[in-house]
Amino acid sequence: MRQFIRLADKLPSSQIYGPGHRFVIWVQGCSLECPGCWNRDFWSVEAGYTMDVDLLISEISDTDDINGITILGGEPLEQPESVLKLIQSVKKIGLTVMLYSGYEENELNELQLKCLNSSDIVIMGRYVASLRDTGLRWRGSSNQKIKMISDVYQNIDINEQEEVEITIGQDGKVSLAGYPQKWLLDALNDI
């Protein structure tokens, strides 16, 4: 049976959402609606676009030089069937999985827990604006936890650092990921 996933955006290769180079997928739709969230555009389940999960997997497997995928959003665990299929399929082709969720473990149902336990790294917890810290690696606020699920990255050194990524596509389009400081936004406005 064909399965679909609602997406907000994707980036074929990024270096700031987990270890190494990763294919990044932002799913569309989040009912948590954390105050101060940076990705408010990804809350509505009406916005974004749907994609056949098999097509997405094939796009990922055709991407060179990536170590894994990162799924964030939106809230990935609000589309658990599709996300689980995605996780299991990319693991079969030797890629690692980093999963973001605003939920805490005790809030998850069986299927959602299966998504979590099938991943290699999980970043968990609501985004709390008052605890926002741009100096944290991979997280937006200090309450969010990094959980190593498998042993793939067990020994990785998480150097806390502020990271912003600027990508220039083949067509010259400039895109920005991460938490940019004002000086960088100002500099990019001059470009």
Binding site: Q15, Q161, V164, G172
Partner: protein, 215 residues
């Protein structure tokens, strides 16, 4: 009620492509820069001359001009068109500003449509650089074998020159972006900039900079 508006073009790095796009959209440049005018005349000359030797000479002249537009410095700071002016307010984008005495959106909408057409033409021409020459190659059957060979070789060189010029203009733009980010990162203090250029697969040509500051 009066109001002001402005519209930005898509990023444009190559004067060669921009001039071609303006011509393609039928946008007449008033008081053009020397290079824009030379490119327009050279392109028209290629179409007008019939004799083989003249044709080859016209292509050679065009190739000399192509070499002059291989970096973003060749982009004019302003381009005056019939109804409005494009100003290069940052490194690779033009901005068109307008003013309407009455709250009438007609002028603004016409300008938006025009810029959107120019953006599309720029993109299409950049993607299909060399297609025009390939079309010209396909229509040279009526020449003698020797002549065909001579013209084909010239056309091949033109295709290569056009593509190389465009690639160089993008490379120049990327180098400038990297430079701007790096200089600002140093000025802010404590930041490092890592540059990664993708060379293989579908991502080839993408460039990524990661600005990092250890906490």
């Amino acid at each position: 009620m009066s109001y002001r508006w402005h519209q930005e073009t898509a990023p444009m790095t190559s004067l060669l492509v921009l001039q071609n796009a303006l011509q393609h959209c039928g946008l007449k440049v008033i008081d053009p820069s020397q290079l824009i005018e030379q490119l327009r005349l050279a392109r028209n000359n290629i179409l007008e001359v019939k004799n083989l030797d003249q044709k080859i000479a016209a292509y050679e002249e065009y190739m000399d001009l192509i070499k002059k537009c291989s970096d973003t410095n060749s982009l004019p700071t302003s381009i005056k068109l019939n109804n409005y002016q494009l100003s290069l307010t940052n490194s690779f984008r033009y901005v068109v500003s307008g003013y309407s005495a009455n709250y009438d959106k007609t002028d603004e909408q016409a300008m938006q449509a025009s810029i959107s057409k120019l953006n599309d033409a720029y993109k299409l021409i950049a993607m299909g650089l060399g297609d025009e020459m390939k079309d010209a190659m396909a229509s040279i059957e009526n020449l003698k074998k020797e002549e065909q060979k001579k013209l084909r070789e010239t056309l091949n060189r033109v295709v290569k020159a056009e593509q190389e010029s465009y690639r160089n203009s993008i490379k120049d733009a990327k180098d400038k972006i990297f430079q701007i980010i790096k200089e600002n990162a140093i000025k802010e203090g404590g930041y490092k900039v890592k540059r990664h250029i993708y060379t293989t697969g579908k991502n080839a040509g993408r460039e990524q900079y990661v600005v990092v500051k250890r906490s």
